[in-house]
Each structure stands twice: as C-alpha cells, then as structure tokens.
C-alpha cells in the first residue's frame, strides 16, 4: 500500500475509541468510492433532482448509449459519402483523419481531393494491397539489424524499417498509448498516417481488434460536446453544450445511464461547488504538500485531553474518548460542547492571527496553518464519506441477517440506504467546499458561503451520528432519520444553488487569494 492511500483511507490503528460493538465485526472490503454500480436502487434521492433539471447548479445534457454513438457515426459516414462520392468506409477514414470536422473535410476535399486522400493514407498506391519485402544491403534504423533475408516495410513516404520493428512500434502505439486514427510513420518528423491496411498487414489480430475499437472511440474523443463516462469499463458517453470558456462560471456535473456522476469539464468525479480550474490547482497543491500534511495529520490523531490514540470507526466527527470520556470534534480537535450550538464555527479559518504576523517565518507558518485548516477538513470529509459507507454496508448485512428477528422488512430499512446516499453526496460536496474556501477571497459573499457550509456540516454530523446507533435502535429512529436526511439534502441544495448563482454572476467567488 502506498503511503498516500494509507493516509486518505485508513485511520491509524489503535482502538481507544469505539462507538458501538456493531461496527467491530467482519471486515468488509472497501468499495471503490465514486463509481459503484447501484443498479437496484430506486431510492437514490438525486433522481428527484434530475426530474427537475432547472436548479442553478445543474446543466442540460444527454446520455448516449453505445448504440447511439454507433448510429451517429454511421449517419455522418453516409452523409459525407454521398457528398464527396466515395464509399462510406473511405469517408470514415477521412472523417477520423479530419477529427470529425465534416465542414472542413468537405471543403478541403472539394479543393484538392488528391492531397486530402494522400494525407489520410488513402492515396492511389493504396489501391494495391501493401506488401512486405526483403531489400539488399538494408539496415533497419531502429534495431540496426542488417540480415538480408529480413522482411521490411515502408509506406509511400519511403521510410523503411524491418517488419519486427514496425510491428512492435504499431503494437506499442495501439496497446500502450491507445492511438489509432493518427499513428504516424516511425521516422522522426514524418507525419504520414499509418493507414489501416498497412496496420493490419503488420500486427496481430488482437491488436487489429483493439485498433478498431479505438477508431470508434475517436468519434467521442474528437468532439468538444461529447465525453466518455470516466468510470472503468463504462461505455456510455454524455453530450453537453458547456464550453471550456464557461468552466469558471459553471460546474457541469453529469450522470451516465449507470448513475456514474462526473464533471463534464474535467472528467473527475462530482466536485461541486468548486470550479474545474480550482480543483486542478487544489489537487496539485495537495500533491506538492502531501509530505507536510501527512506528517501533521499523522501526529494529531490522538485525544486532545488524555493523548490516547484514536481510531475512527464511523464518519461522525463527534468523538468521545473511551478512556477519559472527553467529547471533542475530530476536525478541529476542539471540545464538542462548543459545537452543535449557534456558534459552531469549526469550518472557518481565523485569519486574524495571520494579519498580525510580522516576520516571514510567522507568515509562512500562518500560510501553512491556513492550508492545513482547509486540507484537514477536505481530507476528513473524504475519509468520513468512506467510513459512513462502510458502516452502511455492515449495517445492511446485519439487518439482512436479523431480518427474521426484526419486524422490519428489507424494503422498510431502505430509509437507511437513502440516508447513506445523502451522507455520501453531502460529504462529497462538503469536501469540495473546503478546497473552494481555501481560494475564496474574503468578502460578504464568504460569510454566506461559510454559513451555508456550517449548516450543511452540522446537518451531516447530526445524521451521521444517528447512523452510528446500534442496529436494534435504528428502527425506532426511522422518522427522525428520514427527517434529517431530507434536511441534509435541502441544505446541500441551498449551498449548491447559492454558490452556482454566485459563480454565474462572477461575484467574488472565483477571485483567488
């Protein structure tokens, strides 16, 4: 396990703090966080939002199935084919060569057909099927072999290499680099595209198959308004009109048919309310500063009162030390008595201390503290989301096994699934609010933002706390949990709406510190 993983996903060992016996048993493997398939869920609360796609933080988009993608391409092949009077297979090659820019293709083809055909690897020489041959006195410039019986190959550009090297080169491009439509001749500086006939002559059938798949993928890759769903093995694509230049004002979150949610702008998982550029900057910063923050985080995970080591079992941040019974907040390590009241403010970084900092060292210390304030909260929600989820998986298992004893049916306990999903979504949002806040310039917008953040955070911690109750108590908490779930979703919606509207207006939110 590499150290970063360890930090993000697993609390240090030690078991001084324990919430209830219910979380101690069976070790259930963690699921990959962002892209689980939840086919059988009819309770996902986000469905309601989709039914009403006019919230300020939502964008219009369309989901394309593999079949849709295929038929879109066919339509274009046929259309171009009928205009330039070439068979659809050749129109396909030309379209891919021209990065699916139909207008440009037709225009330049009308202008100079020979040149276009030549450049796309469809020149007249291609009519005859390409062949390999031996050449007297030939030395391959890649492997330096000069065996006269060696088979060699060159395209029309005349750059000749031995078949072994050529094949190895193409295999590498297709298999390792995922290239297809625009693989160039191996010669440095030669831009001739390797055509499919040459490729098929030189590589194994399995590589040929992969090549065909990759060719199909270029349709989505080359179009700005299309994106593949980034979930592994997912074959859906999404069409969305949001342009690159809009990304400072909109966070275009979309969802494929399998409910994988991702950002259309950068293909990362849902990072609302933070805009793409900020996310990129933040992730880079976290990577650069990971050593420092790892060190600090590793050294603060103990009870602030008696110093015994703490393990966090659930996502809730309200901690009670098993040894000294001290109650505190996992995020700010402050006493919990100060939380959950009207002056809960563990989300806000106290800027004042920095303003007084006189010398450079104090300033740099202040800037590190400021970063850690936000980073710890960001990382903490990420970890809590995972813990909440693990807890739900354990609870669900237990409930299934308790089904006979309990008087609730499987359907009846699904309110916990809904609650778990709400916790995931809210923590995902909260996590990014901290990255967002790090770059937020202080003005009156910030206060509203921080109030929203605080309200959501309190709602989430309340729900999370209930979620950790022993299984046999959960049944009687149903109404309360449902209420709190609705409230969490409501707070999240308010936060996302407010931020999205401010981003659209460009009021203060994107100004970097």
């Amino acid at each position: 396990m590499d150290s970063e993983d360890e930090f993000m996903s697993e609390p240090p060992s030690g078991d001084e703090i324990d919430f209830d016996e219910g979380t101690q048993d069976s070790d259930i493997g963690s699921l990959s966080g962002d892209f689980d398939h939840d086919h059988d869920n009819g309770f996902g609360y986000e469905k309601d939002i989709l039914a009403n796609p006019q919230k300020p933080y939502e964008v219009d988009y369309r989901i394309l199935s593999p079949k849709d993608i295929h038929s879109h391409q066919e339509r274009q092949f046929n259309e171009v084919s009928s205009i330039i009077e070439l068979p659809p297979e050749q129109a396909a090659i030309l379209l891919r060569y021209m990065r699916w820019n139909k207008e440009k293709l037709i225009e330049s083809y009308m202008d100079n057909p020979e040149q276009v055909l030549e450049a796309a690897g469809l020149g007249p020489t291609l009519a005859a099927s390409p062949k390999t041959k031996t050449v007297k006195g030939f030395t391959c410039e890649i492997c330096y072999e000069d065996d006269p019986t060696m088979q060699t190959y060159a395209m029309k550009c005349g750059h000749r290499y031995c078949v072994g090297c050529y094949s190895h080169y193409l295999t590498q491009k297709v298999k390792e680099e995922g290239e297809a439509a625009r693989i160039e001749c191996p010669f440095d500086g030669c831009h001739r595209i390797v055509d499919s006939k040459s490729l098929k002559l030189l590589v194994d059938p399995s590589i040929q198959d992969r090549y065909e798949v990759l060719l199909t993928r270029t349709y989505v890759d080359d179009k700005d308004n299309l994106k593949w769903c980034p979930a592994p093995e997912c074959e859906y694509a999404v069409e969305c009109a949001v342009k690159k230049r809009d990304l400072n004002h909109i966070v275009p979150t979309v969802r494929c048919a399998y409910d994988h949610s991702f950002c259309f702008g950068c293909s990362l998982s849902d990072h609302r309310p933070a805009p793409c550029s900020l996310v990129k900057q933040w992730l880079k910063k976290c990577e650069d500063d990971s050593e420092t923050s790892n060190w600090i985080s590793a050294n603060t995970k103990e009870c602030p009162k008696c110093r015994s080591t703490i393990e966090k079992n659930g996502g809730c941040n309200h901690m009670t030390c098993r040894k000294c019974k001290h109650e505190f907040c996992w995020m700010c390590m402050g006493p919990w008595s100060e939380h959950g009241t009207s002056w809960y403010n563990c989300n806000r970084f106290e800027e004042k201390s920095g303003a007084d900092a006189r010398d450079a060292q104090a300033r740099s210390r202040h800037s590190l503290e400021r970063y850690l304030h936000y980073y710890n909260r960001y990382a903490n929600h990420e970890q809590s989301a995972k813990l909440d989820k693990d807890l739900w998986i354990k609870t669900e298992k237990k409930m299934t096994s308790l089904q006979t004893q309990s008087n609730m049916s499987w359907i009846e306990v699904q309110f916990l699934d809904t609650a778990s999903k709400a916790l995931q979504a809210c923590r995902q949002t909260l996590k990014w609010t901290y990255a967002f806040a790090f770059y937020l310039q202080r003005n009156n917008m910030t206060e509203i933002f921080e109030d929203n953040q605080k309200d959501l955070e309190m709602a989430v911690e309340n729900l999370s706390q209930m979620f950790e109750k022993p299984v046999n108590e959960l049944g009687s908490l149903k109404v309360e949990i449902l209420d709190k779930t609705t409230y969490c979703n409501r707070r999240r919606e308010i936060l996302l709406s407010d931020t999205a509207e401010n981003l659209k207006k460009g009021t203060g939110c994107t100004s970097l510190v």
Partner: protein, 149 residues
C-alpha cells in the same frame, strides 16, 4: 539478458564520435545506465557549468524513450526540483528512430532556449515570465554554485 544490437551500436558510436559538449558513458555493470554530462551552452545563463544527468534505457527502448533526469541542481522552467525534464521528444514526440545522441542535443538546446510557456517547474516558469532578468540572474547563480565545482 543480451543487450540488443541497437544499444551496442549506439554506444559504440557515442564513444567513437562524441558530440561536442556532451558525454555519455555507460556503467560497466549495467550497460543500459549512462552517466551523462552536458556543458551549458554559451550565451545562456548556464554557460560555464557542467551538468550531470543520469540516463536509463528501459526494457522497451527504442520503442519507448530513454528515462533521463538532471542530477545537478538547475534553475530552469522546464526542469523541476527532482531534475525531471519537460521535453516533447521525451514524451509524445518520441520516435524509435531518435537516438540518445539526438535526445541529449535536444536537452542542450533546451538549456539555450527555456520555454516558460510549457513549464514543469511552475514557480520558476512564473518568475521567468514576470521578471525574466531576475530569473536569468538566479539561473546564473545556481550554475555557479552547483555546476562549477
């Protein structure tokens, strides 16, 4: 594993006809590993410095580019603090027809013509754009401290 003919031939040629201002010597116990030194080009802030690099030919060489890294500290927008180099021919523009020789020449050229618009070391690149004169001065000082001993 036997060394491919390509690597043997390339090494022989590097030894027999060295490139002015550049040397690349393979380790005796690992012929895929080279100690490289490059002289800072004249008229550049690296002039007078001798920069040490390490170069490794991966299993798949020449289908994949050599791995190469500066060992001498250098202040340059396309070279980060770990010595990694941002150069197109070492990545997307690599061709198996390129050689160690051509790559080292490209790196030498990069020293003569830093490109802050395609940065690897962001802080350096930013300074290079904001105050080129000061950045060049720093590069000169670093050359003096780290590459002239």
């Amino acid at each position: 594993m036997a060394l491919p003919k390509r690597i043997i031939k390339e090494t022989e040629r590097l030894m027999a006809e060295p490139v002015p201002g550049i040397s690349a010597v393979p380790h005796e116990d690992n012929l895929r590993y080279f100690d490289v030194s490059i002289h800072g080009p004249s008229q550049s802030p690296y002039e007078g410095g001798i920069f040490k690099l390490e170069l490794f030919l991966p299993e798949d060489y020449p289908m994949t580019p050599p791995k190469i890294r500066f060992l001498t500290k250098i202040y340059h927008p396309n070279i980060d603090k770990l010595g990694r180099i941002c150069l197109d021919v070492l990545k997307s523009n690599w061709s198996p027809a390129l050689q160690i020789r051509t790559i080292l020449l490209s790196i030498q050229a990069l020293l003569g013509a830093p490109n802050p618009d395609d940065p690897l070391a962001n802080d350096v690149a930013q300074r290079w754009k904001e105050d080129q004169e000061a950045a060049i001065q720093t590069a000169r000082e670093w050359t003096k401290t780290h590459a002239m001993t």
